[in-house]
């Protein structure tokens, strides 16, 4: 799967299911401070990612994922 397609799917569920304003979805947006994704939201994101991309996010792999761009990269790497 190409990175562009990952971005499209991720942005879609962040807007539709996590209800984050589309304007905030920038590559350099911080997941916690910028998009206000808290630990409970992240549980739902784990569920959505597994259903959409077919793999389970491992918390230890997310340690260095701080921005939305890094999150796209993490998923793209997993599904390439």
């Amino acid at each position: 799967m190409q990175r562009e397609e990952v971005i499209k799917i991720v942005n879609n569920f962040l807007v539709e299911e996590i209800e984050i304003e589309e304007d905030l979805l920038k590559e350099d947006a911080l997941l916690k401070e910028g998009l206000h994704i808290d630990s409970l939201d992240f549980v739902d994101i784990v569920v959505i990612v597994e259903k959409n991309f077919g793999f389970k996010i491992k918390p230890e792999e997310m340690k260095d994922v701080k921005t939305l761009g890094q999150f796209y990269d993490y998923i793209a790497e997993k599904v390439k």
Partner: protein, 406 residues
């Protein structure tokens, strides 16, 4: 001792989604009972239920609040939002003043069953998502409402089977009367999903009169064959009288008396003696006598035994006074954990509008109800003081006496 009044009400049930709609249904004697096809597919003996539409909360509540709300919590939110508006308060008031909550709820089965199904499918509890824990606990209604409405007072769920909502109001009365709180949100909520009532259906408690759903719930009638489950939520705002006067709040009624008892006997079979004790205590607590009661909203659910035992108790206490009696469960079905609160809202609406809603389908009395003055058609009637009964599994009994403020 402080006096306690009701300064706001809200309702979301099979009779309507707000006070105005419900008042019209009560006056018209309009049943809210229908058939749920999912129950047939699931293996119920009876597909009959009160038909309650899920509210659309997107736009009213943020995502986190919605994700954590179970079905009954959604109903409770709608009823409570209406009650708060009608009490003349808002979120700003709730943030600046200490307001408590006692809400009746005794199950949240859908969330539990769905979480189990997910775990079995994925073998991974994280797949249950972030809302499952907050939806599946018995205290789901109070934990959610206290968060949404920023409550900082007493905060707990009352689980007392089909008397939960009534005991919640009784406990709110006690807390305010004793000076522990100035204002408490009280109520009851009941889920209506087919996932919530299968085990109740399984013991043969439900009516199977499916040919005409509106005829199925027939409290006190000779030909009753069981109850019809219903649901939704009802909220009343209880407030200390002087506090309400000072605030310029609308004072709708006074919660004058609360009586309780436990039968200490069979888990499912009610007791005329136990229910009479609760009624007598409520009358004594209110400082009134049986002859003073203008209307009784009976617990009567349309079960053979339950109605018979309540009829015996009512006959013993009220027959000399020919007191008008009706069970609104003839229209709503048995709203279970919610019923004790919703029937206070229904009865208050009757008191405000001077009528008694009918006990639908009471066509022929049985040997127990033959002496009772059961109102089976809408009756214009001034009500100054009424009694509301609620009884539940395990022999828990609650009775409330409510007075008009003059």
């Amino acid at each position: 001792m402080k006096r306690v009044v009701i300064t706001g009400m809200g309702i979301y049930s099979c009779l309507g989604k707000n006070l105005e709609e419900v008042t019209k249904s009560l006056y018209a004697g309009k049943s809210g009972i229908g058939i749920d096809p999912m129950r047939l597919e699931y293996g119920y003996r009876s597909p009959l239920t009160g038909i309650v539409e899920r509210p659309a909360l997107k736009g009213l509540l943020d995502r986190r609040s919605r994700v954590c709300l179970a079905e009954e919590g959604e109903y409770a939110y709608m009823a409570t939002a209406e009650a708060i508006r009608n009490a003349g308060i808002d979120l700003d008031y709730l943030e600046k003043n200490e307001v408590g909550i006692f809400y009746g709820n005794d199950s949240s089965a859908k969330a539990v069953i769905e979480a189990h199904t997910t775990a079995m499918q994925y073998k991974d509890t994280q797949m249950m998502g972030s809302g499952a824990i907050f939806q599946s606990m018995n205290s789901t209604v109070t934990m959610n409402l206290s968060t949404i409405f920023k409550l900082r007072g007493v905060n707990m769920t009352i689980s007392a089977a089909c008397a939960s909502g009534s005991h919640a109001i009784g406990l709110g009365l006690m807390f305010i009367r004793n000076g522990l709180q100035d204002m408490v949100i009280c109520g009851g909520a009941q889920e209506t999903s087919y996932l919530s009532m299968g085990s109740f259906d399984g013991i043969g408690a439900f009516s199977v009169r499916v040919d005409d759903p509106t005829k199925a719930s027939r409290p006190f009638d000779r030909d009753r064959d069981g109850l019809v489950p219903g649901g939704g939520a009802a909220t009343v705002i209880l407030e200390e009288y002087e506090h309400a006067v000072k605030r310029g709040a609308p004072i709708l009624a006074e919660v004058a008396g609360y009586g309780f008892s436990s039968n200490g006997a069979n888990i499912s079979q009610p007791s005329d003696h136990g229910s009479a004790i609760a009624m007598e205590r409520a009358l004594a607590d209110a400082g009134v006598q049986a002859k003073d009661i203008d209307y009784i909203n009976a617990h009567a659910t349309s079960t053979l035994q339950g109605d018979a035992f309540e009829a015996m108790a009512l006959d013993h206490l009220f027959t000399p006074y020919h007191t008008p009696i009706s069970s609104t469960k003839s229209m709503t079905g048995h709203e279970c954990w919610m019923a004790g609160a919703s029937e206070i809202v229904y009865s208050n609406l009757m008191m405000q509008n001077s009528f008694i809603a009918p006990n639908l389908n009471f066509e022929n009395p049985d040997e127990y109800s033959k002496n009772l003055n059961i109102v089976n058609k809408t009756q214009e009637k001034n009500i100054d003081i009424y009694l509301s009964n609620s009884f539940g599994f395990g022999g828990t009994n609650s009775a409330l006496v409510i007075k008009k403020i003059k």
